[in-house]
């Protein structure tokens, strides 16, 4: 039987304090005084953890930092032959282990997408692999859906435990926490005391209630064909998304968007090769050296975003959709573009809606 512990609300900080001695603990905190948004930051004393709403930006940066140094280089004069230069290369250092505390099921599911691309193909990405292995997820059962959430529409749900190492269920004035695998089990002794049978039963009931909920009215899991059929229907795309301003917010906040750029950034004789987040919503993303751009228009870029998530990705990775239904792109979009609607209407004409 796996151990289940109970942490009272008031003991949460002390527990995080203990955990943060063992590893980097990333927790959801507010953007600032009187701000609504949430982001994940490493825990330190004075951190106020906010668990009552989803983070604005997903915790993907813990495993896939916005900027990652792949290597450092430095040119040096060859003392024996001044006409020559040597390059000293320094590999990246090891990363430390981390725990993401208070992520949501959708956040964790996002990493399934990443895994397909960075781990399960012919080549493994060592940078991603190392962080992924060293990062644990203590995931919060999600009972705070809002009008942008649609995790059940893409085959997940608010009680989805897949991919998590520890599972947190809010009960009364605290949390019942349970390990879901050996990695998680190791942390249990540091975390707290055994929960009472009553608490465990209550947690069980909540788990069942929440799991039974369906978040999101559409079923978007089989849209791959509809997308390809609709691909050339320019009117559809113009109608749906000509209001997109191509700002890239949707891709940056998204837990499943993994596109990156690799650049050498140097000054004088030294520099770094870095990998940084890129966005298919940017003009420069597809700009070719010749000056030609296959996706010059904003709506074409948005079309790619939909296609990638709901068609190309499932085609490549046995049906898996690379959208976890977290709704972040909807919530943060400055012009309120609703990806659910765009995907749902691939099947029938928009006019049918009214």
């Amino acid at each position: 039987m796996s151990e289940k512990i109970f942490i009272a609300q008031g003991e949460l900080t002390a527990m995080l304090e203990r955990l943060s001695k063992e590893m980097d603990v990333w927790v959801p905190v507010e953007m600032g005084d009187e701000k609504w948004g949430i982001r994940f930051l490493p825990y330190h004393e004075d951190t106020i953890v906010v668990l009552d709403r989803q983070s604005t930006i997903s915790p993907k940066n813990v495993v896939f930092p916005q900027v990652e140094t792949l290597l450092r280089f430095r040119y040096q004069k060859d003392d024996n032959d001044p006409s020559k230069q040597r390059i000293d290369l320094k590999d990246r250092q090891d990363v430390s282990s981390a725990l993401v505390f208070g992520a949501r099921p959708c956040d964790v599911r996002g990493f399934h997408t990443f895994d397909q691309v960075f781990l399960n193909g012919r080549y493994k990405d060592p940078y991603y692999e190392q962080r992924r292995e060293k990062t644990l997820f203590a995931t919060l059962l999600c009972d705070t859906k809002d009008s942008a959430c649609f995790c059940s529409s893409v085959g997940s749900g608010p009680g989805d435990r897949e991919g998590s190492d520890l599972w947190i269920v809010p009960v009364d004035d605290g949390y019942v926490i349970q390990a879901l695998n050996d990695k998680g089990r190791k942390l249990i002794p540091i975390m707290g005391k055994q929960a009472t049978t009553e608490q465990i039963e209550k947690a069980q009931r909540i788990q069942e209630q929440v799991t039974a909920k369906r978040i999101g009215e559409y079923d978007l899991t089989r849209s791959a064909r509809d997308f390809t059929d609709r691909f050339e229907d320019m009117d559809y795309w113009r109608d749906m998304v000509s209001k997109c301003i191509s700002c890239g917010i949707c891709t940056f906040v998204c837990p499943t968007c993994y596109c990156f750029n690799i650049t050498d950034e140097s000054r004088d004789l030294e520099g770094e090769r870095i990998r940084s987040w890129d966005s298919c919503m940017f003009y420069h993303y597809t700009l070719e050296a010749s000056g030609h751009n296959p996706r010059p228009e904003k709506f074409e870029r948005y079309r790619n975003r939909v296609g990638h998530k709901f068609s190309y990705f499932p085609d490549t990775y046995s049906g898996m959709i690379s959208c976890c239904g977290c709704g972040r792109c909807i919530r943060s979009c400055p012009v309120s573009i609703d990806i659910r609607r765009v995907v749902h209407h691939l099947k029938e004409a928009v006019d049918a809606e009214v």
Binding site: W36, S279, Y283, S336
Partner: protein
């Protein structure tokens, strides 16, 4: 009194034959959001709405999406503007990106738009909203269960709290009566003065702390109606290379200086850059400070007089005081 939404639809219907497209707002993904709407058929005009959720500045689309300077036939572009939006429109005319004749402008005197995030902070459980309206000094939110009232000070966008131009500067048709601004000219820069009370090192710390959150998504730039460089913004071009792909504080800080300096004497204080920021960084303040300097030094405000030339794009040989 007729509902403004109805008036809006009716006014556009009257002239629709002469219009190629109408830029307005329609209900968004939930009852607390509106979304921009491009109406191309008369039958769709009934989608249009006007309410305090219509926050987007539609002038953003004129140069970057519609290329409004190029018209196929004589047809005009219909557009809805709030007070602040109309300044952006005027500024684009001043800078010769568009011409006045191209537009059929429906102006809407505006009491302010709702900052969705601020509203959530006060009442996170709001849902099934049926009506959002401003009554006097309060925002009235009607849900299926009850009617909520919030003081405007607590729920409006920052830009609206300091708005001096709630009434459209130019229009062909005005919906509703002009209103008096919430604040006088003397308080317009109150938000800036708050920061200027800090010591110099504390100001630096303030900006370091705020700008540190920036993820360089560039939404603030893309939403800005006056960022007219389309896809050649120097924040992204590799030649010349002003910025690297690094995301440390220096790069973020410098990116915001780029945006600000390029908007000096051009920014119309529509506050879009701040509204759209997912990380809630008060970036409009930076541009507002520049505006204040330009106003004091060169006696100019962007987007007020279509005939005037932006002062940093011209000069005066006999200049005094510099």
């Amino acid at each position: 009194m007729e509902d403004k939404t109805k008036t809006l639809q009716r006014e556009f219907l009257k002239v629709f034959e002469k219009l190629e497209v109408v830029l307005g707002w329609e209900p968004g993904y939930d009852s607390l959001h509106a979304t921009p709407s491009f109406i191309r058929q008369a039958k769709d005009l009934n989608k249009l709405v006007w309410n305090p959720l219509c926050s987007q500045n539609l002038c953003t689309y004129l140069v970057k999406t519609l290329n409004a300077s190029v018209r196929k036939d004589d047809k005009k572009i219909g557009i809805c503007v709030k007070g602040c939006d109309s300044r952006s429109l005027v500024a684009l005319i001043q800078e010769k990106f568009i011409t006045r004749e191209t537009f059929y402008i429906v102006g809407i005197p505006c009491e302010g738009t709702v900052d969705w995030r601020r509203l959530m902070r006060i009442e996170p459980s709001l849902k099934d909203v049926q009506k959002v309206d401003i009554q006097g000094n309060e925002l009235e939110v009607e849900t299926a269960q009850k009617t909520y009232r919030f003081p405007l000070q607590q729920v409006l966008e920052q830009r609206c709290l300091h708005c001096r131009y709630p009434n459209p500067i130019i229009y062909d048709c005005l919906i509703g009566e002009p209103i008096t601004p919430h604040i006088g000219d003397d308080q317009a820069y109150g938000d800036i003065e708050k920061i200027e009370q800090y010591s110099l090192p504390d100001r630096l710390k303030f900006w370091e702390k705020e700008l540190d959150r920036c993820i360089r998504c560039y939404a603030c730039r893309n939403a800005c109606p006056l960022c007219v460089c389309r896809d050649s913004c120097i924040a992204e071009t590799r030649t010349p290379k002003w910025l690297s792909q690094r995301c440390d504080l220096k790069e973020k800080f410098f990116y915001h200086m780029i945006h600000a300096i390029h908007l000096a004497g051009r920014c119309t204080e529509c506050g879009e850059c701040e509204r759209v920021c997912p990380m809630e960084i008060p970036v409009t303040l930076i541009k507002k400070k520049l505006n204040q300097i330009v106003k004091d030094l060169l006696d100019y405000e962007a987007g007020i007089d279509p005939q005037k030339q932006p002062p940093l794009l011209t000069f005066d040989p006999g200049e005094k005081g510099i």
